[in-house]
Amino acid sequence: MDTSTLTIESTRSAIAEKQITATGVVEEFYRKIKADDGDIHAYLTLCEDRALQQARHIDDLAAKGGTLPPLAGVPVAIKDVMVTKGLRTTAGSKILEHFIPPYDCTAVARLEGAGAIVLGKTNCDEFAMGSSNENSAYGPVRNPRDKSRVPGGSSGGSAAAVAAGTALAALGSDTGGSIRQPASFCGVVGLMPTYGRVSRYGLIAFASSLDHIGPLTRTVQDAAIILRTIAGRDPLDSTSANVPVPDYVEEMSKPVKGLRLGIPKEYFGEGLDGETRSAVEGAIEQLRAAGCEIVPISLPHTPYAIPTYYVIATAEASANLARFDGVRYGYRSAHAHTLSEMYRKSRDEGFGAEVKRRIMLGTYALSSGYYDAYYLKAQRVRTLLTRDFEQAFQKVDAIVTPTTPTPAFKLGEKADDPLAMYLADIYTVTADLAGIPGISVPCGQTKSGLPIGLQVLGKHFDESTVLRVAGAVSLKSRT
């Protein structure tokens, strides 16, 4: 069976028409994982028995001639920051090495409820903190397109699994670019929905006002199908939005002719790799040829996005990660005699270097005497960054940019320089701060064969337009 060309819809219809079985599909994906994942290391935990049991259930349904749910038999991978009942969830951290969650993340439960089959949990930067997947306590992921290079991060395992064909689709999480940046580096589609569009219940919290769950897929249509499945109000997450969920598949099939697309000059300046620029500009010309109006715009506060992000994200992280204290779950140091010693040693031994760096920065920014200067200042600048987009969206329907300034870099290249690593998110982080949706879609490759991603940003809750523009780009880049 050739699983490399399957999409969500073709998998479901082939199972419904009994050309293939869900069990056969799942077995083939595990065969591929066992053959190819040793080098790539996209997976941390597999759940073959559970997956095969779910597959048999789908096959029984198909045998009875029943209507199959929309994701019937679709093998998916879940970033290991989403809890899965009875299935180990580590967040890429040693502190959760043996953690078996007692409940399910809403997004995962909704996928499984629609017939999708979870193959396993994917590797990621520890607590989703990183841009290269090198911060995983379980070792890095390699980019399937060039194994000397990083897959991006923090959803590096999810992007690599989809790129390597060891999952048909995956869920990731995006706090500063962690879905779109690895999607760009690995040559797959990665969608970050509007803040609140998808419930965060069961997502191990990094920065609560910035965390988003979204899909990584082979096609834009698959991203639309998964979003349709996981989006919508969830009583278990009070920040999930009470906004109707449209049929994204229908919405994205509308022509792009007449759409006004903004090109922000700040995203095409110094630091942008030449080949990335040409590929993105080529895609913009194709969108113009398809009838879009291309409008030069400015998002003047863009240079302040990374410093704003590193104050707010680390401040929220320092509070969220206070729960890891060695009492209720997770790692406990064996070398402690008193309670406070136990907290301190468990956290020092359990957390990796980048996580400690961010907890320290966030604690500093929130500490007495510095709160106004750092945290409050950053929240004010966040308002300015959000206003940039509000003003732009008065003139345009969507914004088109490169996803990343360069293609995938080499393993180890930025590992010792936190600031250089943070700058890998320079084009993605602003959308997280403003809460607007964004997608990365492949738009070409370098001469050496590295994927290049184009980013489309939209208005709050307008994933439809984002998917529509991305769909037009991906149609063109395939011809």
């Binding site: 953690f99 078996i100 007692p102 803040y195 609140g196 006002s209 009583p235 009070s238 920040t239 939005a241 009470n242 906004v243 506060h301 302040y304 410093p307 704003t308 590193y310 206070a322 204290d325 060695g326 009492v327 209720r328 779950y329 997770g330 790692y331 406990r332 402690a336 008193t338 309670l339 406070s340 010693e341 136990m342 907290y343 301190r344 956290r347 020092d348 270097a353 400690k356 760096r357 907890i359 320290m360 920065l361 604690t363 500093y364 500490s367 750092y374 409050l376 200042k377 950053a378 004010r380 600048v381 966040r382 308002t383 300015l384 959000t386 936190p418 600031l419 701060l433 709050h460 809750f461």
Partner: protein, 98 residues
């Protein structure tokens, strides 16, 4: 240097992190270089700009639910990941220090 090693120790205390000498030195260096970068925010006059509270405005209502009893995580399930538990309690080292 904005942050001294003494301040690093103070912040580590606030964050309940036991740092080695080596970690303290490295963190002082990293925090200084990151904070120097963050200081560019001071180029912006934000005196009349309100701090962001919720990016999507009213889309997420401040949902209040009815105050009704609902099933919650069973005690056994809540304790299953505990590093140490006994008699239905989480067990920890001595709380009162001399």
């Amino acid at each position: 240097m904005k942050v001294t090693e003494k301040e690093v120790s103070h912040v580590a205390d606030l964050a309940n992190l036991e740092l080695t000498e080596q970690e303290r030195t490295r963190l002082a260096k990293d925090l200084n270089s990151i904070l120097e970068y963050i200081d560019r925010l001071n180029e912006l006059d934000t005196s009349n700009v309100p701090p962001m509270a919720q990016v999507t405005g009213g889309a997420s209502d401040n949902a209040m639910r009815a105050d009704e009893l609902r099933p919650s995580l069973a005690q056994e399930a809540a304790l299953q990941n505990a590093p140490d538990a006994s008699d239905g309690f989480f067990k920890v080292p001595k709380v009162i220090e001399k």
